[in-house]
Amino acid sequence: MIYEVNNISFAYPNTEKLILNEVSFSLARGEILSILGPNGAGKSTLLNCLAGLVKPTHGEILLDGKDISDLPGKNIAQKIGYVQQAHTPAFSYSVFEFVLMGRAPKISFFGRPQKKDEELVWQTLEIMKITHLANRPYTQLSGGERQQCVIAHVLVQEPQAILFDEPTASLDYGNQARILRLIKRLSAQGYAIIMTTHNPDHAMLLGGKTALFAQAGKLSCGKTSEIITEESLQKIYHTDVRLLYVDALQRQACLHAKL
């Protein structure tokens, strides 16, 4: 198991409200976990805990069998890549420079990247089919291109697990599908994937496991086909949602009933 999460709870300092309430699950290499929940349910907080950015108030997170709160940031970064929600950096680094920065966990405090690091970046850009962007300023890319660059940046970290915070948000329809396809391919290559999303259909397309923020920080986790039901979705989103089997696609799809 890459991740074993045992009964973690989280509340912001000096507040009563539990953002996470005794959350548990585990994840092995090659598995995908989609996390669904309404706005403000605690999805990003959970990811931040999993990335070691914030400490749960109770419970433990085992990363490869070791308690994450005992690990130095550098060791966590060597195992986990985190694709946070799109941000615009203040400086216009080239895509090559930006992706190269993914090597940071492997480089010493006063060090800088070497030839072999640069080589890995070129290979990764090639695999991601974005070599043509290498010398473009990162700030001037389209949303879809930028997301691909961020993923390349995380891949050169050579992690075992990758966390995605709403990777399809603010992408157009085609780019959403491209990013999902990429995520599926990454899991087939052995990366453990944890992703938050607002679209239940994306979780269903990816299969694997799903975790649902049911109520007040409680998380129900299991096989996607068992967790995502019309009842569970209607309960968390308070709207009429239907799961329909589409013959032409030979799969279940999640749709709004009406407005």
């Binding site: 060597q78 946070q84 203040a90 080239s94 006063f110 800088r112």
Partner: protein, 344 residues
């Protein structure tokens, strides 16, 4: 095909950065030689060089005095102060991921000025003035960082405003120090030095700043790639396994030491730390491993040129900040206009 051409382009950028640095270095040496020769007592380049390498006739006492006693310390001072101000500006801009700051916009220069002025009041030694300037600068940048933290507002604008507040407060403190200073002796010293000038530089002063400046810039060069990582943002840097507070404090200490050293020997010289990094970015790109050396050389060249002009253009020498401001302010306005898309 694409791989090859993109790789070649990336290599080309690297080579270009190196060529630009070499060109700046040659330009710097040429300017320094010109600066050695011109002034109220003009010299031929060959005789200046002869003095420099100890090959001149010993009876040319005046040549020796002008070159080694007056002009050389001043040239070295303007070079190292220019390099120090530009690299501290680059570092501040990087770690605060804010292209609108530099030591004078964070209150560091004013704080260092207050520290140094207090030391002058206490008739302290050169090393003590430097220490006080460093502590004053550190205190000022600490206060400047405190305001956005208290207001829980991390925006670029907030940091700039906070710097203006602290800088203003420090200027008032400096005003008070001048008010209580002895008008016969201390006041003139503080005022003249505060306006920024290289005219009274001595070799002793130079010797006292060389070590701290050298160490601080070496550390910044070593950290330059980490500064890139920090400029991506705090949580991003953290997920890359970077110890954010450590890198930040280390960089602030080095950059403040550079600014304070420069302030302690030459007073406050504005604009260099703000505009030179931007020109460096236009020349060699954004990455700090390439940018820092270029900014250093660019700052040195800029300040040496400006100081040489202030020294020779008019009969009575004017304070250097007048000229850096006259050049810096419009250039900064032009840069803001050119880069407005990116700043938004």
């Amino acid at each position: 095909m694409i791989i090859q051409s993109e790789r070649e382009l990336e290599h080309k950028h690297k080579r270009q950065a190196r060529l630009i640095n070499i060109a700046l270095l040659i330009l710097l040496f040429t300017t320094a030689l010109i600066a050695l020769c011109i002034g109220k007592y003009p010299l031929k380049p060959l005789s200046a060089l002869a003095v420099l390498f100890g090959k001149a006739n010993l009876h040319d006492v005046m040549d020796y005095h002008v070159v080694l006693g007056l002009r050389l310390p001043r040239i070295i001072a303007s070079i190292i102060c220019g390099a120090a101000l530009a690299s501290s500006g680059t570092a501040y801009q990087g770690i605060f991921k804010n292209p609108l700051v530099s030591s004078e916009f964070l209150g560091v220069s004013q704080g260092a000025c207050v520290g140094a002025a207090i030391a002058i009041l206490l008739s302290a030694s050169a090393a003590q003035i430097q220490l006080f300037a460093f502590l004053g600068g550190l205190l000022a940048v600490g206060l400047t960082l405190l305001i956005p933290a208290l207001m829980r507002n991390n925006s670029n604008l907030m940091l700039v405003l906070s710097g203006i507040i602290i800088g203003g407060a420090m200027s008032s403190v400096l005003g008070f120090i001048k008010y209580i200073a002895d008008p016969e002796t201390e006041l003139a010293a503080i005022t003249y030095w505060q306006m920024g000038s290289f005219s009274y530089i001595t070799s002793d002063q130079l010797a006292s700043v060389l070590l701290p400046m050298g160490l601080a810039s070496l550390c910044l060069f070593g950290l330059s790639w980490r500064i890139d990582i920090l400029s991506l943002g705090e949580s991003e840097a953290q997920t890359l396994g970077t110890n954010v507070p450590l890198v930040r404090i280390f960089t602030i200490i080095c950059a403040t030491l550079l600014t304070a050293s420069s302030v302690s020997i030459a007073g406050t010289i504005s604009w260099v730390g703000l505009i030179i990094p931007h020109f460096g970015r236009i020349l060699v790109g954004t990455g700090n491993t390439r940018l820092l050396p270029t900014a250093c050389l660019g700052g040195a060249l800029f300040l040496l040129t400006v100081d040489t002009v202030t020294r020779t253009a008019t009969a009575a020498e004017m304070p250097i900040s007048i000229l850096t401001g006259l050049i810096g302010a419009p250039l900064y306005a032009w840069l803001l206009y050119k880069r407005r898309m990116i700043i938004n």
